[in-house]
């Protein structure tokens, strides 16, 4: 069990996490308002959202802190996610357009 003295650095870390998440959220909204074209705009917006989500996973959920089993679980989950997203992307890329 930690002492109350240990909480000060954690509070600072959580405030930093919170602030970075808000900045990333506002940046995501701001970039979506720019006229970057659909492809570039969507890429940048989703990249910012992915960074924000990674902050949640690493800083709040403690993916790195919780040891090798959790990291393995996360990697396996990511493999499945990439598979689920790449499969339709590959299908679309190779599909004959009829319109």
């Amino acid at each position: 069990m930690r002492t109350s003295a240990d909480t000060a650095p954690d509070t600072r870390r959580h405030v930093a996490t919170f602030a970075s998440q808000l900045v990333l959220m506002l940046a995501t909204v701001g970039v979506s308002r720019l006229d970057l074209g659909l492809r570039l705009g969507a890429t940048v917006v989703m990249l910012l959202a992915a960074v924000n989500a990674t902050v949640v996973a690493v800083a709040l959920m403690g993916v790195r802190r919780d040891g090798p089993l959790v990291r393995l679980l996360v990697v396996l989950t990511l493999v499945v996610i990439i598979g689920l997203l790449v499969w339709p992307a590959w299908d679309i890329a190779t599909r004959v357009r009829v319109f």
Partner: protein, 194 residues
């Protein structure tokens, strides 16, 4: 019969059992949402036309800020238990519940506006996906709130008898709540901004 509960991390997994359980549960939840995201990409890229900026960005941005804040208060609620600060834990967990309820209220107002405008799931693929994705997410918010209300109410008495077990319960609930935040952070730009 009393179900045996171990509060210590197992040497083989490095985690206490409940934490391993919640991580496995979250992995299965990822499969659900990844399937939905995949369907979204497939349907969107295959569509001849797609509506843009038809959803209220202001309300969704406010909701995103609410969930981010609630994740922060959830961590603070858990940390308060680690330092034996019961009143701070109650305040932070109560605040997390309040933020979750406000999120649902904003979502309710949003739904009402769309329904009043005749924008039902049957209108087009976009609205079918919008209602499916946001409603599944909202149900997860409701699930988290039910658990947190239990921890604030009848479940709170466990703190006096088994403080470590109670702290582990709050940590597991927090992991679930952060995951709900994680999903919304990805849903928000996909539906509202692009």
């Amino acid at each position: 019969m009393q179900i045996p509960y171990t509060t210590e991390a197992r040497p083989d997994t490095g985690l206490y059992n409940a934490k391993l359980g919640i991580w496995l549960f979250l992995a299965s939840e990822v499969m659900l949402f990844a399937g939905l995201f995949s369907s979204y990409i497939l349907l969107r890229t295959g569509a001849v036309e797609w509506p843009h900026h038809v959803l209220p960005v202001g309300m969704a941005t406010a909701n995103t800020a609410l969930l981010i804040t609630s994740s922060m208060t959830m961590v603070m609620a858990w940390e308060a238990l680690k330092t034996n600060n019961w009143s701070r834990h109650r305040a932070c967990l109560g605040l997390t519940v309040a933020l979750g309820v406000i999120f649902l209220l904003i979502k309710f107002v949003e739904y009402q506006e769309h329904i009043a405008a005749g924008e039902l799931p049957s209108r087009n693929t976009f609205f079918a996906l919008y209602y499916t994705l946001t409603a599944v997410h909202a149900l997860h918010i409701v699930g988290g709130l039910v658990v947190m209300l239990y921890l604030l109410g009848p479940g709170a008495k466990l703190w006096a008898e088994q403080p470590v077990q109670f702290t582990n319960r709050v940590e597991s609930t927090g992991l679930y709540w952060h995951f709900v935040d994680f999903v919304w952070i990805l849903l928000f730009p996909l539906l509202y901004l692009l």
